[in-house]
Amino acid sequence: MTSRRHPRLVAYAALAALGMLGGVALGRPDLIALVAPFAVWLALGGALSSRPRLRVDIGLERSRTAEGEVAALILGLEGGPIPWLELEAPAPAGLEAKTGRIRLCLSEGARETRRLELTCKRWGAYRLGPIGARAQDPFGLFQFSGEVGEGVGIRVYPSWARLRQLVPPARTQVFAGNRIARQSGEGIEFAEVREFLPGDRVRHINWRVTARTGVPHVNLLHLERNSDVILFIDSFTEVGQGRDTVLSLAVRAAAALAEGHLRQRDRVGVVGFGGLVRWLHPAMGPRHLYRVVEALLDTDVVTSYAWRDLEVIPPRVLPPAALVVALSPLLDPRSLGAMADLHHRGFDLLVLEIAPERLVGSELQRVDELALRVWRAQRDARRHRLQRSGVGVVEWHPEVPLEVALAAAREYRRSARPALR
């Protein structure tokens, strides 16, 4: 910690010296008596002053928490004597110090613990510490300030609403799952009745139809398969401030979709497409949800002018016939190009367009009306370009639940079945 004079030292010294010299010059001992307490303070401070020793061990009550919850930082304090010690909670953007700073005194050789609480406002991976400390010597003539302790990492998971209905993929894969495949085979859902063929199992004979027609018939059943779902997050641009930004909403929506699809035994993968391209191979199972969420935490906007395309993504990350759900505000032409490329490669693409107008809020008032109209027109043009090429684009306004947008997507796909290649 660095030390510096407290304003008290200069003020008291000046006052004491002035009073003494004034008293001597004017021959008034009462002036000297007036400043005597300040002189005594300085003398005591000089005699008892010492450099404080302080060691702070920073720990966390839980290293993983969720948005909206309170994270507790546990501080192990050792050292002293420090009659006045201020410790300030580190508060990176996204976390808010609930208690602000704490002021305490630490006795010589004491070992104490203190708790600093932080409200997790936004998902993300944060590093807490070192923490700011400010101490005073016993008479407050000097103050010592600096950063103490080793930082610790905390991961704040996004909060999401549980989705009851998802957008069903157009095609299924070969693994068993909860989705009804178009192909017939061993399953539960009835598909159709056909005449018995050599090799058919006797238990599948439909006795009613067989008795009516006199020819053996069997029931055909739909296979139950899973599907591959790739969550494609456009992280080229960010709009909004605080908790609700385009990227925050995209991540929360992606987490909700991942949880829903993994519940359906689908394989889920993630592609963060922006200045920095990140991906997670598709997999299934409850544990994979945590891998997806961990991957989503690292999603951030990284400014880059490099032109990105799908070539940088390994082929195994984008399995054939996968449903690709793209979460994008349609603000960057590079992500638009990647989406068009996905569509041309035959992926079942659904674009959830996150409407950014509400997120800019008061900034919109300051923007020239003409510029605002141009901005909207550009987004409209991009949306129409995608729709013209056969991509399902659904606008999601952040003030309405994600399920509303998914219902619109289901309706769109029911009425305009995407061409399957």
Partner: protein
């Protein structure tokens, strides 16, 4: 009724001073910094009034103490101005420090007055003593500041 200096009744001054001391003691024991400001006000006001009206020099003693308390209260208020939680033990310790130093300072002031009011022909010449004390204080503070800032 006996009057102090320009006519402030002594009977009024004593309870006011006692109330000031009680306020400071209460603030120290309860850990309530809001009460600190009341102490210097009650202690200092009558003494300042009397001194301005050419009252007895003895009033410089409580006035000096009150000035120190008021200054310390201002520093404490400054330290508490930012948002946060202050433990009562820290406040208590700080107020006890202020109270102790003030008492010692007022004792020193009384000693200075006793020495200063001794007749010149039979007592000490304060001129040299005062100059030496003031210069010594400045040098001590300067040396202290340098050594601490280096350390």
């Amino acid at each position: 009724m006996a009057a102090v200096g320009g006519g402030l009744p002594l009977l009024w001054m004593i309870p006011i001073q006692v109330a000031g001391l009680l306020a400071l003691t209460g603030a120290a024991l309860l850990g309530r910094p809001a009460l600190v400001a009341l102490g210097p006000l009650l202690l200092g006001t009558p003494a300042a009034l009397a001194l301005v009206q050419r009252g007895p020099e003895l009033l410089a003693v409580p006035l000096g103490g009150a000035l120190l308390l008021a200054t310390e209260a201002a520093f404490l208020a400054g330290d508490l101005s930012s948002r946060g939680v202050t433990e009562a033990a820290a406040i208590r310790r700080r107020l006890l420090r202020v109270g102790g130093a003030t008492a010692l300072g007022m004792g020193a002031a009384a000693v200075v007055l006793i020495i200063g009011t001794v007749p010149a022909e039979g007592g000490l010449d304060l001129t040299l003593l005062g100059i030496a004390a003031a210069l010594g204080l400045l040098l001590a503070v300067g040396w202290l500041g340098r050594s601490r800032l280096r350390g």
